[in-house]
Symmetry: C2
Subunit: 683 residues, 2 copies
Amino acid sequence: MSTDPLVVFTPSGKRGHFPVGTPVLTAARQLGVDLDSVCGGRGICSKCQITPSYGEFPKHGVTVADDALSEWNAVEQRYDDKRGLKPGRRLGCQATVQGDIVIDVPPESQVHKQVVRKAASARAIQMDPATRLFFVEVDEPDMHEPTGDLERLERALRDQWEIESITADVTLLSKLQPVLRKGKFQVTVALNKAHDDSIARVIDIWPGLHEAGLYGLAIDLGSTTVAAHLTDLETGEVKASSGIMNPQIRFGEDLMSRVSYSMMNPGGDKEMTAAVRDAINTLAEEIAKEAEIDAALIVEVVFVCNPVMHHLLLGIDPVELGQAPFALATSESLSLEARDLDLTAINRRARTYILPCIAGHVGADCAAVALSEEPGKSEDLALIVDVGTNAEILLGDKERVLACSSPTGPAFEGAQISSGQRAAPGAIEAIRIDPETKEPRFRVIGCELWSDEDGFDEATATTGITGICGSGIIEAVAELRIAGLMDDSGLIGSEAQTGTGRCVPEGRTNSYLVHDSSAEGGPRITVTQGDIRAIQLAKSALYAGARLLMDQRGVDKVDRVVLAGAFGAHISSLHAMVLGMIPDVPLDKVMSAGNAAGTGARIALCNIAARKEIERVVREITKVETAIEPKFQDHFVAANAIPHKTDPFPELAKITNLPNPSFNTQGDSGGDDGGRRRRRRRG
Amino acid sequence: MSTDPLVVFTPSGKRGHFPVGTPVLTAARQLGVDLDSVCGGRGICSKCQITPSYGEFPKHGVTVADDALSEWNAVEQRYDDKRGLKPGRRLGCQATVQGDIVIDVPPESQVHKQVVRKAASARAIQMDPATRLFFVEVDEPDMHEPTGDLERLERALRDQWEIESITADVTLLSKLQPVLRKGKFQVTVALNKAHDDSIARVIDIWPGLHEAGLYGLAIDLGSTTVAAHLTDLETGEVKASSGIMNPQIRFGEDLMSRVSYSMMNPGGDKEMTAAVRDAINTLAEEIAKEAEIDAALIVEVVFVCNPVMHHLLLGIDPVELGQAPFALATSESLSLEARDLDLTAINRRARTYILPCIAGHVGADCAAVALSEEPGKSEDLALIVDVGTNAEILLGDKERVLACSSPTGPAFEGAQISSGQRAAPGAIEAIRIDPETKEPRFRVIGCELWSDEDGFDEATATTGITGICGSGIIEAVAELRIAGLMDDSGLIGSEAQTGTGRCVPEGRTNSYLVHDSSAEGGPRITVTQGDIRAIQLAKSALYAGARLLMDQRGVDKVDRVVLAGAFGAHISSLHAMVLGMIPDVPLDKVMSAGNAAGTGARIALCNIAARKEIERVVREITKVETAIEPKFQDHFVAANAIPHKTDPFPELAKITNLPNPSFNTQGDSGGDDGGRRRRRRRG
């Protein structure tokens, strides 16, 4: 038994004996305890704060005396005077071991701290970013042993931080000498060590201790919006989130029209590439301003995006993605310099990481969903649906994961719907139809009240009631089915058939009147038979994609359904199931994952192991191409009925008793026509 | 014993048994015989030409029958019709083994062919460039197994060429898809595999078989001129050599004035960087035009240069090189993208390699000399001197190599000499003084005749006789010493002391009149006492540097002296030794290495192992800093006498009997004053 004092660290439980006088930081390092330090124990960065505990610790078999650590010293006093140390805290590099001691490492002093995410179901992010700060003291040049400043910096990093070798680009070389001299050969370097690289890159260098932090951007580059989370690379904290419209919209609303624009206009792809890169620069500037940081402190960017945006971001003409066999120029992940993408608003040596694409229609955004939701680690069989203009679908568990994309079209987003609109104030986002009276009540974005509640008119006076957004139209169609106003083929009944004047004729079909403010010059909001058909096409595509994966997996039911995407967060599970968008599962097994793609981007930004993981996962995913699977068409046709022509929905039947009218007076020409057309992919 | 036919390759001597029907190329590959192929055996590149030999080969123990190879086939016939095969040649990928056979691989069919250099003493360059061409057939995209085009290209390179992994930048990605489709998925890629990189970079890609070749530039970036050799990276052949003035001259003639310019003018370093990069682009364009190749086929550039040019090329302010401790920003070799240096005239994905610097005053140019002259492999002790504005000096043998730089100043180049000028037509480059008559005769650049030969006046009528260049002034001073017109302290005698009217008074000293065309409005060319002093300062610095290295090595003589540099090629060994520029050795042990720095650049361009070698060599070189060695001053003072105050020159004494006059009439204040001033470094 050693007679040296015993040091016990919590929460890790690591313990060891150390000679009297050993700094706590040294003991932590020798035991492999995760205790942060940027300055390497020089008492200037304060990252190594610890909390000693005193008294009896039967669990550890230790009694800690009051003098178990060295006395509060001048360095600690100076730091406390300047910045303030929390009560009970010590600096791990200053306090030395004098007797048996129990030391707690608070979360903020851990390098690999965990960032707890809001959604309780999802995993925490463990901090292990590619870029970190290191304070070093570099030897001054010596004429007797001439070496370059870079080589002496490298040696200092090797000796003081065990970093084997570094590389620096010419722009860094040009500032190296003045910064070293300004810092009197004490500098802080930001080193980027990618998971796929054996060498650490010097991203930046500052004289003395750099205290302004390091930041990264997690960017979800969508067809319509570009959303970014500015993340502190030391704490994982999101300092600001912001989004802007994708300026490529002016070249085409959906992805296929952008591909067409490129095919029809020589150099059109370059225009679109320049536009989106500009937008990302603008976004980076704005978000840095909002967070009140210097944009040059943004040293990493992670992108997730669909394949067309992926190619347009990279400057690759997406023409091949518009036609079979939908060949990607590259499918694997990319580690690039930010300047390769003309990202000039941030640090000029910043790095970017783009997640791998799964297939020609299943992009890095879907990979990010897989990273966030981890179907490959699921005990039960999970169906994960990222509903956008295309639906990206993952099905899997620990055994195997499959993926496909299905061309739902933009109906779920309110486009191609007669009263459809984007989710914006004034849009109906939720709707209920009384099964007895057949009367609707609804809620609009921007107001918490239902339309039959007091004060609704006043509350919506400024926005008005302008149309129906994506979640609204899904609920409306499902409610029509629940209320018996629409039959399972999707036909809306006439006033005579349904007994309500809300069902109004429109040509040879009927519409359901939701709201009429035409007397006041406002819109007349109806759900038309055409709207139903559009939703049927979309939901059939989604369901058919899911079924195709289930076929491939050899199952006819799944254990749970995860709705990802901003849209997923607003879909009512019940209505989605009544509509037959998703396979039948118990309602409590339908969950929303929020913006899972954005979360995946944040994970890849904060943790390099996650990059390696998703690259492996994507390689192992079974890719299913809906466009060439004959069964997709069969599934599509069968899914046209609401909820479904042949598949039973036993869980749905347990909680709702759908009426079964038939409004078809012209033979069996109901909703099946959609299946006869060959669908065109949409962005 | 195998009953399969025996195949013997010459010149390698490699042999093995192969089944009947084995293509010769396959046999060569299995035996590791160096037989080239770009198309991988598809009969389209014709790089694998071989010469079969028939008859008795007792040495190999083989009798080769006439039908030992398969018959001439249609592919060979087609190639012969189109391009012509040399008599006796076959295509190694088409001819198959039918019986015992002896096969010669001609030099041009070897990948690692040797390029024989002109100077017999120097080593041949073995071709092993970083960038090579590979023809591949890539799988077409398959919706059932979606992968990116880049990933399929990588797989093809792995399967067909055993190249493990590749990387491509975004500009390559943007052309990948159209080129693959244009070539019907048969393409040629240029892959760069650096010696310090584990991954191969796709530099460019062409549809089908690319037959226009690949080129590299070896650039010797001097303070005064920038010289480039455009080299065929397949054959090693120099297609064109060209040079231009370094435009930085407008910021300062020598390197120190450029450093000063940078110190005095904020942004001055950036101006100089931009100027030299522009010049390199111009040079690249011109040299490509001269060789009638597309400049985009230049895929590699190797630079050698002194430390100040090194920093200015890289965009690093050279201010630290102008003051002790002369710290380099980086001393190790650099592998960069050409775009990092704004080299836009060549392939946009071209790579550059910059040799390592040895110390703050001993640059990559000296490293290139070490690569070319290989002192570290020398059996005898070699002193290698690269004479420029600074002299770079290497001393070594197999045991150990030392290096230093010595501030000779520009006198050796004709600067600071009263009648001095650059080496250009009209400049006196050689001179002899008759020991009896004390009359001079000389030769000028641009004319083969001596001035006392018939036709000299006519031959020099257009250029005139305009001044004395570097080699001319060295010879003039040495000849003055040999003719007894100047004593060993460097004093020129008066007419009275020497008995010749050529010695004319000039103030309190004497000058020697070489040529007077002032009557015809031309110059009056003299060697003044000031010129002698300038040459003494320069030669003392050079000799002192060499002596310092000899001290460090513990020797007082060397076995041979190598004069490198364009200047070295024009110095007469005898005169250099009379002057005491170099230590005493037998005259036949003084040799010129020509432009050794440029040769070193070519070696590094053509052979990647050489890059690794010079990096190792430079690390192992003992660096000696003349500025801080007290003995340097002592050596400098002692070397002021001509040839030397104290060191004996026994070898010189064997071949010339120097007269020993003394023209000092004012006590001992001869040539030693130079040693009292602290020398300032010059570029």
